[in-house]
């Protein structure tokens, strides 16, 4: 029983991280018909930049005060550094998203082939730039001291960082659903997913909404990246593509354009992966693939999607 709870929590935490990447991917595709192949790279940029800032700040304070590690308030300072790192990661992700949308996607709007090819080019450039700035080797990403360790309830070990990720993921999901269903901009986005020509005909500047959603999606992916780094204890140059793959599986299962679908599918994929990694580690990815293939065959629009 304990094992099942632990594995499930692991899976939900992984699922939440993938959800953060997939939500933007799905929303951008639903609204703009653009499948962003650079989404994983944007997420990786968030991770590298955020961790770089976080570790840089740690170094900086340690340099100022060599006895820092013994101070009772050190975990709080470390936490603050991490939060600044997260904000920096989201910032760089959104800025890159903004630049991508303005410079690369808008000029070829309406031509699917060019769009797909160009986001692939963006992925190539972004991934190579990560290697240029930070090198090709993996970089360690420690969990901030405050979130390190675990709570023990009976025999159940709850790793603090994973619980934090789940909490953040749920908060973001609630926030996104609130924006989509309770605000005017959310109304426009939902209407745009259904019929963007109509929205435009009603006098709404769809282009601005596109840019905003693209930035939001990129920012979410970057957040997912930064949070993922301490989860894996490291960042490395192929992580972008790896996680993008899982995000693809998630959006196909959840349905393109559906944020809620991404969350549900993210949790399904995360839990499948956690259990498979424990019992049959080599088949973990294959099972998620089969799941995706099954969905494509039986319900191409995904569990919560409206069109295929």
């Amino acid at each position: 029983m304990e094992l099942i709870i632990i594995l499930t929590l692991n899976g939900v935490a992984t699922g939440m991280l993938i959800f953060l990447i997939a939500a933007g991917l799905s929303l951008i595709f639903g609204l703009m018909d653009v499948l962003n192949f650079a989404h994983g790279a944007l997420s990786m940029w968030g991770a590298y930049f955020g961790i770089w800032i976080y570790k840089g700040l740690e170094q900086f304070w340690l340099h100022q005060n060599p006895n820092l590690l013994e101070a009772s308030w050190y975990p709080w300072l470390s936490m603050l550094n991490f939060i600044i790192g997260i904000v920096a990661g989201i910032f760089i992700g959104s800025i890159l998203g903004l630049l991508m949308e303005k410079l690369l996607i808008q000029p070829v709007y309406g031509n699917h082939i060019q769009q797909i090819l160009i986001t692939m080019g963006a992925m190539l450039i972004l991934a190579e730039m990560v290697k240029l700035f930070w090198g090709s080797n993996l970089i360690s990403a420690p969990v901030p001291a405050l979130l390190d360790g675990a709570w023990e309830i009976g025999n159940i070990v709850l790793i603090k960082y994973r619980i934090t990720i789940i909490a953040i993921g749920l908060a973001i999901l609630t926030f996104l659903l609130w924006i989509l269903h309770k605000t005017k901009i959310g109304l426009i986005v939902r209407a745009g997913v259904q019929n963007k020509e109509m929205v435009q005909a009603l006098g709404i500047n769809v282009k601005k909404v596109f840019t905003l959603v693209f930035m939001l999606g990129a920012g979410l992916a970057a957040l997912g990246g930064v949070l993922m780094a301490p989860f894996m204890n490291q960042v490395y140059p192929t992580m972008g593509l790896e996680k993008q793959l899982l995000a693809f599986i998630v959006v196909v299962i959840g349905g393109m354009g559906s944020v809620f679908g991404s969350a549900v599918a993210g949790v399904i994929v995360g839990i499948t992966e956690a259990f498979m990694l424990y019992y049959v580690p080599d088949a973990a990815l294959a099972v998620n693939f089969l799941l995706m293939a099954l969905i494509l065959l039986l319900r191409p629009s995904g569990l919560f999607g409206e069109r295929g």
């Binding site: 595709f29 070829v108 060019q114 692939m120 450039i125 599986i249 065959l297 191409p300």
Partner: protein, 327 residues
């Protein structure tokens, strides 16, 4: 048409005479590589340039070819029969897999095919990494002692690659100019119209993806024999797909000559930039330069070098790719 024939004839003659002017093995290998990867890029062009569908997982067929020949030779020993068996295995496997991937995703929007091919290719990549007992994972394995002597001679293999290129180019030329090929171009130009005319779009797209997959696996076989080595990153890595993409886009989509031109440019530039890396480390990241070039070409010269040349000459209507909405 005659212009094109003359062009290919000149190319064949240059190809045949080239070894007279090259006396080092490295350059001979470079040209061998250019021919083999040109075939890979041509197969990619069948999808992108002629049918208008994008695959980001084309490398999986390349890798299937590479692994089938190297594993057959390694386990079956040095024999021509094993190469023939490997060719059959590669053709059957790649046809079956491209069929499955196609059935799953070609019914849907074009983005699905791109996404799902990428995902499948990475699955193969991971499989080749994890199945260490068979593939030796990341390190790969060398099988040079199992290759028949005739193929081991660099000069022989250069000519074999050239003949391989010519045969495949001729076959693909016949294919794109056949009735089926014309339907593919029609799908590229306007899918709805082709469908309204009564063509079964899925059926034709499947043919296109199977032909592309099988040809790619053949180029994978040649590649493995020329390097006498297979490793998971070199034959299943996404870099190879990106190479095919770069060669096709830079050379020119929708022409068979374009990918050959692109292959020459990319491989020679690759070689030169690798030398420059000793001068300044920025050249180690040569992919950035190509990435930027690629994005600029997609944005401003979507027809690539060949396409732009043709446009400039205002000839050869086949190569026109209109800015059409694909479904």
């Amino acid at each position: 048409m005659t212009n094109k024939k003359v062009g290919w004839l000149v190319l064949i003659i240059v190809g045949l005479l080239l070894p007279l002017f090259i006396n080092n093995q490295a350059q001979l290998l470079l040209f061998t590589k250019i021919y083999i990867l040109a075939v890979f890029a041509m197969s990619y062009d069948i999808l992108l340039g002629y049918t208008g569908i994008i695959s980001f997982g084309h490398v999986m067929f390349f890798g299937i070819g590479s692994y089938s020949v190297s594993l057959m030779l390694k386990h079956g020993g040095q024999s021509w029969l094993n190469i023939v068996i490997a060719i059959i295995i590669a053709i059957v496997l790649s046809a079956v897999i491209s069929f499955i991937v196609g059935v799953l995703s070609l019914r849907l929007k074009s983005t699905y095919y791109a996404m799902i091919t990428l995902a499948f290719a990475e699955l193969f990549h991971i499989l080749s990494l994890k199945w260490r007992s068979l593939t030796n994972g990341e390190d790969g394995f060398n099988f040079s002692k199992y290759i028949p002597d005739l193929l081991k001679d660099r000069l022989n293999f250069y000519y074999i690659s050239l003949i391989f290129l010519i045969i495949i180019a001729y076959f693909l030329y016949r294919f794109v100019n056949s009735a089926t090929g014309k339907v593919l171009v029609a799908i590229r130009e306007n899918e709805q119209r082709a469908e309204t005319l009564g063509y079964n779009i899925l059926h034709y797209k499947l043919i296109s993806s199977i032909v592309a997959g099988v040809v790619a696996s053949l180029s994978g076989i040649m590649y493995a024999i020329s390097y006498r080595y297979v490793g998971s990153a070199s034959v299943f890595g996404i870099d190879k797909t990106i190479d095919a993409l770069l060669m096709t886009i830079i050379g020119g989509v929708g022409t068979l000559f374009g990918p050959l031109l692109g292959s020459g440019i990319i491989n020679i530039a690759h070689e030169l930039l690798a030398d420059l890396a000793k001068v300044h480390p920025i050249f180690e990241r040569w992919l950035i330069l190509f990435g930027i070039l690629y994005v600029l070409i997609v944005m401003f010269f979507p027809k690539g070098i060949m396409g732009s040349l043709h446009k400039y000459r205002n000839s050869l209507p086949l190569f026109k790719i209109r800015k059409s909405k694909d479904g």
